[in-house]
């Protein structure tokens, strides 16, 4: 088990698969690629075009609101503006007391005030994940399973690979 920091990039005008590589991967179903260290040399080496990918804020907000539903435990929420520290504390407090309604209200407040989420850390099935708004993921695991984790874990909701489930209907 190792800690990997993966930088996500969009791969326009490219479809197909690439052989296994120790420094980058391409997701098979969506135009996304992950690079371990995006140095200019590696960017030239990859067999596809790369373009910056930003994670949209709605996905962060939705993820916080639905985290109970998705069976994840939020550890850390980092906001763009450090002066909004109190709201984060309130969100933690609401999570502690299992008050989903309060969490929703606080996130709505973030949305209304245009306070952007910088990064999000959470636990899912015993592993820790971190996502930043510039599409940088921190995943623990073996390198071979990283592409699969990126696509199937709750990370996929944040990156936008999967559509969020309808609330309360995930058991059907």
């Amino acid at each position: 088990m190792e800690n990997f920091v993966v930088h996500l990039y969009l791969t326009p005008n490219f479809s197909g698969s690439i052989p296994f590589n120790k420094r980058f991967f391409k997701l098979p179903s969506v135009p996304l690629a992950g690079l371990l260290k995006p140095t200019p040399a590696l960017k030239n080496e990859v067999p596809f075009e790369l373009r910056p990918f930003q994670i949209q804020q709605d996905n962060f907000y939705m993820f916080i609101q639905q985290s109970m539903n998705l069976n994840v435990t939020l550890i850390k929420i980092e906001l763009e503006d450090m002066s909004d520290f109190e709201i984060v504390q309130d969100i933690y407090q609401a999570f502690k007391s299992n008050n989903i309604q309060e969490v929703k209200l606080l996130v709505e407040h973030l949305k209304r005030e245009d306070i952007e989420v910088k990064s999000l850390s959470f636990y899912f099935e015993g592993r820790q994940y971190t996502v930043t708004k510039y599409g940088v993921l921190e995943i623990t695991g073996e390198w071979i399973e990283i592409p699969q984790i990126t696509e199937s874990s709750p990370l996929a909701y944040i990156t936008g690979t999967k559509v969020f489930p309808k609330e309360g209907l995930d058991n059907y």
Partner: protein, 230 residues
């Protein structure tokens, strides 16, 4: 406005004069003698000029209208983005531009010709900034099936909508909207002050197609994105 009427008047007079000379050269009668003939010439030319735009109307069975405006509203005009330490200070919601497409189908025999023409072709609307200093990313780019990323912007596929329209008869209007935002990323480096223009284009199989421009009427709106460094 006055200038426009003057232009119209002059071009029409010019057209009538040319027609008159052409008709006159076919006979050898003196000028302005045969009133019946002159009246017939005038009436024929009028009907011809009335029929031409009618055919033009028939030639466009599909109209695609693309509108763009900042999420803040029409009055905001362009999208302004403030940069500080090479990161965008303007929040994502204010960097979002709402793009809406309106596809209208008219009752026309040309529709079948268009559909037959489209069977092997891919019609896409390309949204790219010029100059390409910024990157545009459509919202939910990975899950919305019509959208596909391009080098700096994105494509919207129209084929499916046209095929859906083919199931119905008569005239029909469909509208869809695809919001997109300007990407903020540490990899980007911006010039000090830049203004880019986003003008949607319609492309067929990767390039412009003149035959289709007769059949598809494409109206698009330009949008400006302005970046400042403080």
């Amino acid at each position: 406005m006055k200038n426009q009427y003057l232009k119209l008047f002059l071009t029409q007079t010019f057209q009538f004069a040319i027609l008159y000379i052409i008709f006159h050269s076919t006979t050898n009668e003196p000028w302005f003698q045969n009133k019946v003939r002159d009246t017939i010439v005038l009436l024929i030319s009028y009907t011809v000029f009335m029929i031409i735009p009618f055919f033009q109307w028939l030639l466009n069975p599909v109209t695609i209208k693309v509108k763009q405006e900042n999420k803040l509203g029409k009055a905001a005009g362009n999208t302004q983005i403030l940069l500080e330490n090479n990161a965008m200070k303007t929040p994502e919601s204010q960097r979002t531009i709402n793009l809406s497409i309106e596809i209208t189908r008219r009752r026309s025999i040309w529709w079948h010709i268009l559909m037959r023409n489209l069977k092997k072709k891919e019609v896409k609307i390309l949204i790219e900034p010029v100059p390409s200093d910024v990157y545009l990313q459509a919202k939910d780019i990975l899950t919305v099936r019509e959208i596909e990323a391009s080098t700096h912007g994105f494509f919207i596929e129209v084929n499916q909508v046209l095929e859906d329209l083919n199931l119905r008869t008569g005239s029909l209007t469909l509208s869809k909207s695809f919001p997109y935002f300007v990407v903020d990323h540490p990899d980007n480096s911006f010039p000090h002050n830049v203004s880019t223009s986003i003008q949607p284009l319609i492309i067929v199989n990767g390039k412009k197609n003149y035959l289709l421009s007769f059949l598809i009427k494409f109206i698009s709106e330009e949008h400006q994105v302005v970046l400042f460094k403080r």
